[in-house]
Amino acid sequence: MSQLRVGTRRWRFGVALAALLGISCVHDEEAHQHGGTPVTLVGDGGRVRYLVGWSWEGATWDPAAAGYRFVSDEGVEVLLTGLWVGLGALELVPCEPDDESAAVAWLRHVVLPARASADHVWVSDGTLVEQPMALDALAGRLVEFGGGTTTLGSQYCELYQRATVIQEGVSPDLRQQSLRATGTYRLPGEGAPTEFDVDVDLPVGSNDTLAHDELGAGLPDVTDVVATYAGVKLFDGVNPDELSERELAYELLRNAIASGTVGARFP
């Protein structure tokens, strides 16, 4: 069997040199999709605090219904009265060179610390924090995830986030579920809204580019890495009537985690 890898191993000296010097990692296109200025977090042994929260920009709080109202990109009117997501792990992802030849890969392997996607699997460098918790998305609070971590020398460009099943006894909101969502939806042209109360027990993950957080610095001597999930994107691209309850919950979970934007607040 053979693998054709045409076009992926071109020598790009500038990128290679930058990679060797550890000054690469400009992911303009991806970062701009999230509306931020990409930054590189230089791992110099400093402390990092992970914060997670939800943004309800674009939604309206309905006090009578005790939920957020918003419209999806496909015109689905949603009233969300409950949303709990199991967040299992966060990990800073070292920067990747855009492209490289085998020679550059070898040189980088020799000179630099292991990177995120080094060959077969990623190499965790100690920034992984696993402390599964149930996030109450409607609570509106920014919460600290885990006890923080310490960078170990890599240059970081992304944050990996993994939603996971929350085990029995950890939270009253999620019990062997990674997401539970309640509320109503109404498709364009439909009359009465349809109630939903869905959950799923699957993990999903997502990478998001680190961007500069406009809110500025947090604590002294601590870099805050802030993941903010966009509630109004929950139903984007989803037609609930075409999905089973489990499939709907899974799509909501995927959208929830994928909606994350990650800001870095430097001390």
Binding site: M1, S2, Q3, L4, R5, V6, G7, T8, R9, Q33, G88, A89, E91, V93, A102, A103, A105, W106, H109, V110, A114, A116, S117, A118, D119, H120, V121, W122, V123, S124, L128, E130, P132, E158, Y160, R162, T164, V165, Q167, E168, Q176, V200, D201, L202, P203, V204, G205, S206, N207, G237, S244, R246, E247, A249, Y250, E251, R254, A258
Partner: protein
């Protein structure tokens, strides 16, 4: 979309052989002659004896667009045949929305696989190394007791190929069976949606040549593992999306050949033990192909057919490899402290060990019964590291144990039944294939600069100072090994 030879991958289009494909994979098939220099004139597989079996087994990906973290991508697969083989082109994307179980991104990779129509099993008198004499795992034992978190330089067992594949043999009941090693790392076949199949071990990190399946939760009440986790269909990303295992429901097809189940639907009710022991109602379909020409089937095996061809007995495939632990490979005085817990019954991971230095998982696995040569399924404290060295293949007294509803597979995870020989997917080591029953001489294509050998490293040419294929994880060739690898 990924740039392919300077062009753009388009969507749409179809071949005439009945497998709708995107033009990207159709165009990729124009390069078969480059990948396989001995290939003949290519044509519709339905016109070639043996071709339809391969072509008709492939997943119909027409119209499928997957979500890759907000980016739409289009998986494709296409096939053409010459007189001797099918050539399957793929861009190695899953047929479902990408599930990021590791930080590795999903990217397109162009593959062309060759499936010969006539497998050539090795003759019993073929020169081969007796598998029972291979003892590379003593190195893993010593390394683990010395520095458990540091992997040996290469996969140590000697049971998989670090460079050129060698032949190994088992002798059972006076009959010698000869097999070809699969590579320790990289492609050993492909699934019917087009992504490559890898062997039953990970690389040297994070768990030294660890078992890809031991990060799975046992059921929905269990935690997901911390290592190189697979998605619930059996795949994950590295340089390319690949599968170490295959969950039947993920690869079931409807009458049009399209995926029968969504990812969420296929993985509902996750319960490893039940999936290994529940009775089968009907034979599984093809989930992939091996480069020696044998299919890789799902986990339900037809073991008998009547004169009319109807399957009269279906059994669950059970691996002939059982968890036997790393401790069998040495007698060091420090073993009890390092490995004492392995193989013990457990309910949760904490029953095995706790903390950052814990290398054990409480996982559902197949273990030898205390009496006889049979096995049982249960939760045991298993070492996640050194997958090949913690499992042992044992020739069972009965391939079809009386009173049981499972069938034992051979060393390669295969079974010779009324439908001929095939590999079968299991949820324990080696998951898909443990070796090759037939020759796969065309495994390595001569693609020159753009090609990859079976270990995923650049192919060498005489005179080059880098390249070759020693499967050192994390880097290409070195001057030390190049001389030996490159004549």
């Amino acid at each position: 979309m990924t740039d392919l030879d300077g062009g753009t991958l388009d969507q749409g289009g179809a071949l005439d052989e009945g497998i709708p494909t995107s033009t990207a994979c159709t165009e990729l098939l124009t390069r078969v002659g480059e990948a396989y220099t001995l290939s003949g004139a290519l044509r519709d597989c339905s016109t070639v004896s043996g071709g339809a079996a391969v072509a008709d087994s492939l997943m119909n990906l027409d119209g499928i667009t997957i979500d890759n973290e907000g980016t739409a991508m289009t998986p494709c697969i296409a096939v053409l045949c010459d007189d001797d083989a099918a050539y399957v082109a793929s861009n190695a994307l899953p047929h479902y929305d990408f599930v990021a179980t590791t930080p590795n991104a999903l990217v397109e990779n162009a593959f062309i696989y060759r499936v010969p129509f006539t497998p050539e099993p090795f003759a019993s008198n073929t020169t081969a190394t007796d598998a029972a004499s291979i003892n590379g795992c003593t190195t893993a034992y010593t390394q683990y007791l010395t520095a458990p978190t540091v992997a040996t330089q290469n996969e140590p067992s000697g049971l998989c190929a670090r460079g050129a594949a060698t032949l190994i043999s088992d002798t059972e009941d006076g009959v010698t069976h000869v097999y070809q090693q699969i590579p320790c790392l990289n492609t050993t076949g492909f699934v019917i949606s087009g992504s490559p199949v890898f062997g039953p071990n990970e690389a040297g990190v994070p768990d030294p040549f660890g078992n890809p399946g031991y990060n799975y939760p046992n059921d929905t009440s269990d935690d997901y593992g911390n290592g190189a986790a697979l998605d619930f269909c059996g795949g994950h990303t590295a340089n390319a999306m690949h599968y170490h295992a295959a969950i039947d429901a993920c690869f079931e097809r409807d009458s049009s050949g399209a995926p029968a189940n969504s990812y969420a639907g296929a993985t509902a009710g996750w319960d490893l033990a039940a999936s290994m022991t529940d009775a089968c109602s009907e034979p599984s379909g093809v989930v992939g192909w091996s480069p020696d020409g044998y299919p890789i089937m799902g986990s339900c095996v037809c073991v008998a057919r009547d004169d009319a061809g109807a399957c009269t007995e279906v059994r669950r495939a059970r691996s002939g490899w059982a968890y036997n632990g790393l401790g069998v490979w040495g007698t060091d005085a420090g073993e009890a402290a390092a490995l004492g817990v392995e193989g013990s019954s457990c309910t949760t991971d904490d029953d095995c060990c706790t903390g950052a230095d814990c290398n054990f998982s409480c996982s559902v696995t197949v273990v030898p019964t205390s009496v006889g040569t049979n096995t049982e399924v249960g939760r045991r404290c298993v070492l996640v590291d050194y997958a090949w060295c913690t499992h042992q293949y044992v020739r069972r007294d009965e391939k079809l144990p009386a009173g049981e509803d499972y069938v034992y597979l051979d060393r390669c995870n295969g079974f010779e039944g009324p439908d001929g020989y095939a590999y079968y997917a299991t949820l324990t080591f080696p998951y898909l294939t443990g070796c090759l029953r037939g020759a796969a001489d065309d495994y390595v294509a001569d693609l020159g600069d753009g090609g990859m050998n079976m270990n995923g490293l650049p192919m060498c040419t005489v005179g080059q100072t880098m390249c070759c294929g020693d499967d050192i994880c994390g880097g290409p060739e070195t001057a030390q090994n190049c001389a030996a690898d490159c004549p």
